[in-house]
Amino acid sequence: AKNFEDVRCKCICPPYRNITGHIYNRNVSQKDCNCLHVVEPMPVPGHDVEAYCLLCECKYEERSSNTIKVTIIIYLSVVGALLLYMLFLLLVDPLIRKHDAYTQPLHNEEDSEEMRPPVDSAAAKANTVLERVEGAQQRWKKQVQEQRKTVFDRHKMLS
C-alpha cells in the first residue's frame, strides 16, 4: 500500500500568536526531518519562521507495517485454529472414541506412578508413529482434565 509508508517525520507546532496548533506529517528521510522541510506551507511570514520553528517539535519515526500485518494474521490464524480444534474436541471427538471413554479415567486415578510407567514405555516403543501421537494426545487430554479439576472444581490452585 503506497499510502502507508513506513517512515514519517511528524512535526507538532503549538498555537503561536493567532495561529492554531498544527500537525504536519511528511515522508522524508531522517536527515531532512526538521521544521523547515516539513512545515509546508509555512503559516508565518519569513522573519517569524525561526521563532515559529523553535516551538515546533519534529520527530522522526519508523515502523514496520509488515511486522504488524504478519503478527495480526498469525494471531488470528492461531486463534482460529484453536477454536476449530476446540470444536473438534467438543463435538467430533466424543463421537469417534466412545468406546474407550470408560477405562481411561480409572486407569489414571488409581495407578501409582511407580508401577505404570514401565508398561507404558514398553508399549509405546512397540507402536507406530500414529499410535504414539494418539497416545500423546490422550495423555495431554488427561493432563488438561486434571488441571481443570484442580483449578475449576477443587480450587486448589490459582484461585
Partner: protein
Amino acid sequence: CAGMENPGYRSGSVDSLRHRPSDVVVEDDDDDDEMVDIAGATLDFSNTDDDPPLGSGEYFVERGSRAGSMSGAGPGRLVDPLEDPLPGKSKDRDRHREIANKSRQSTVALLHSVSDAFSGWLLMLLVGLMSGALAGGIDIAAHWLTDMKEGLCLVGFWFNHEHCCWTSNETTFQERDRCPQWQSWAEIMTGTSEGALAYFVNYLMFLVWALLFALLAVTLVRAFAPYACGSGIPEIKTILSGFIIRGYLGKWTLIIKTITLVLAVSSGLSLGKEGPLVHVACCCANILCHLFTKYRKNEAKRREVLSAAAAVGVSVAFGAPIGGVLFSLEEVSYYFPLKTLWRSFFAALVAAFTLRSINPFGNSRLVLFYVEFHAPWHLVELGPFILLGIFGGLWGALFIRANIAWCRIRKSTRLGHYPVTEVLVVTALTGMLAYPNSYTRMGGAELISELFNDCSLLDSSQLCGYKQSNSTSGAGVGNGLADRPAGVGLYAALWQLALALVFKMMITVITFGMKVPSGLFIPSMAVGAIAGRLLGVGMEQLAYYNHDSAIFRGWCSPGADCITPGLYAMVGAAACLGGVTRMTVSLVVIMFELTGGLEYIVPLMAATMTSKWVADAFGREGIYEAHIRLNGYPFLEPKEEFQHSSLTADVMRPRRSDPPLAVLTQEGMTVEEVEALVESTHYSGFPVVVSQDSHRLVGFVLRRDLLISIDNARKRQEGVVGASQVVFTEHSPAPADDAPPPLRLRGIVDLSPFTVTDHTPMDITVDIFRKLGLRQCLVTHNGKLLGIITKKDILKHMANDCQQRPRLHPLQL
C-alpha cells in the same frame, strides 16, 4: 534425610562400588536418571506433549491433596519428589569432571567442552529472543484488538487506530488520531459519527466486542490450559522455591497464555500484562531447556534459568532490564547465585533489545508510557510525595485484604463454579461503567501514559486544559510550562479522574483472580497515577494562587515552573504498586528506567518506602505471598523471620503419641520384611540404621529406589527370593551355608543425609532448610536417630506460629 539421594556422590564413589555382584541397580551414572524418567511416567515421545516442567515427579497438587487427607498418619510425609540436596551441583559437576578428563585426550573434546560451557549463555540468548519476540507480538495484537472495539481501519484491517492514521495529513492538533481511514462502528454501520444513535451503536459494539473477547479468553483457558489463568507470579515463586507443578510451564500453557492474554487485555478488563509476561517468559525458558542436555536433566540448573526468565519477563513488560533483574532477585527468586545474576542480566538485555527492534509502539521505546522528565523538584515536595506513599500503602493493604476475601468467597462458595459467567458479568460491568468516562474507556497503559505526561505547549489533551496566561511571548523559549490557572477542561478532567479512581479501585479487586490471565501492575499503577495526578494538579493550583505564602515563596515565583503534575502521577503509581507488591528497590529502578531520569530517585524512594511501611503495618504479606498462602502452596518465605522459640524436637515426627519411625536396619532384614514395611506405609523414603536397638543412623533410602531395585533383583538376579537377606553394609557377613545369597543394596543408600539434633532451635532449622533448599532432614539425639522433619511440618508449624504471634513491629523490615 530424604532428598539426599545424590547421584553426584554416588558416581563419585562408583569405582569402588561398581564391580560388586549385587550392585545391579546403579550400573551406569545415567541409569539413575532414566529410572527417574520412567518412574515419572514420561515416555520417549515426551517432547511432543506437555513435559513435566521440572524433571519428574507427580502433580504437585495431587500429592498435596492426598497428603492432606492422610495427615497425622505417620512421621515423615515425604511427599515431594526427588531433588538434589543443594540446588544443582552434583550432576553437573560430574559432567564437568568427565569433560575435563576427556578433553585432555582430544581436541574434539575441547571444542565440546567449550560448547558445553557456552550452552548456558546460548540458552539465555534464546530465552531472550523468544520472550522478546512474544512480548512484541502480544503488544501489537493487544493494541489492535483494543482498538477493534471502537472501529476498523479501512485501508488495512490489521492496523490499529494510531497506525491507521500514521501517515495521514488530516489529523488536527486537537484530535490527533482522527483521520478518514479509521471509521468507528457507528460510521460503518449508520454512516454518521455524531448524535445519540452513533453513541449508542458505538457503546453497544464496545460491549459486544468486550464480551466476545472475554468469552473467548475464558473458554480457551478452560478448554486447553487451565493453568494459564491468573498472574502466575505466586506459582512461579513456589516453583522457584523448589516445588513442582507439573504442566505449569508447558507448551500448551505458553500458547494459551499468550493468546488469551491479548484477549483479556483487549476486553477492557482492569488488568495488565506484566505478571502473565513473566509466566510466558518462564514457559519459554522451560521449553527451551529441553534443547540442552545440561538443563533437561538438572532441576536445580533449570530453576536458575527460570529465575533469569522472570527477569526477562519484567524486562520486556517495562523495558527495564536492570529493574527486571532486581525484581527477580527481590521478589521472585529463592536462590539467586551470582552466575544467575549475570545470565539474567544478559537475557534481559537480549529480550529488551529484541522487543525494541520489533518496535511495537512505533516510538522506539519499549513501553507505551515512557516519559522523559527533567523538571526539577523541591525538597518541600517530599511532603506530598510521602502523602502519596501513605495513600499507596493504605490502598495496597486494603486491596490485598479485599482481594483475598473475594478470592476466598470464590474458592469456598458457589461463585467458584461459574468461572465463565463470572468473567462475562465482570466484563459487562466493566464495559458498561467504563465507556462513558474517557479515562476508563482507554486501556490502562494508555491512561498511565496520559497521566505521566507533563503538559507542554505541544499537548492538547483535556488534562492540559489550562487557561492561557497572557504572557505568551514568542521569545520565552520553552517557558510555556510555567504555572497556569486551571481552565474548564481541566476541571472536567479532574472530575472524570476522581470517578475513574473510585471505579478502578473497586473493579480491580474483583478482577484479579478471575480465570483469565491477569496482571496487577498496570491497574495498581493506574490507581496510583490518578491519585498522584489529582494531588499534583491540586498542588499546582495551590502554588499558583499562593505564590507568596511561606512554603512556596522560595521556589515558586510567578513564571517559574515549579510543580510537575506528571511527576506526582509517577510517584503515586510507584507508591501504589509498592503497597500492593511490597517491592522497593526493584520498583524504583523500574520507574527510573521508565523515565530515564536519575533525579527522581529520592522522591520515588521516599514514596515507596513510606508505602511499604504503611502497608506492612496492616499486614506483612504482599499480594503474591497472600495468594500463596490462600492457595496453600508449600512455600517457605525467605524474607520473613521465624520468631518462635520452639525446638526441632517439638516439630519433628513422630510425635510423642505416634507409632515409632519406620526404619530399615542395615542388615538382618529379609526381602519380604522390607517389602512388607514398604507396603504398610506411604512414606517416600526410609532411614537405614545400624540396628533397631542402637538406632544409629547409616543413611537414607528412597522408597522408589528400593522397590525398583528389589523388583529388578527378583527378576534378573539369581537366587533372590523372599527370604534373602537385604544388606545395606559394605561388607556383608558370610551367609549361612543353606541361606539364599543376600541382596546388596548399599548402592542406593544415600550415605550423607542431613541431620540436626533435637535440641536445635527451630529458627536455625528453618534457616538450614531455606539456605540449603532441603525437603527433609533427619533428627538425632546423642547420635541416635529420633525422627524426621519435613518442609511441610515446618510450614504447618509456622502457620500456627503466625496466628499466635503478636504483631507489633511492622516497621522492622
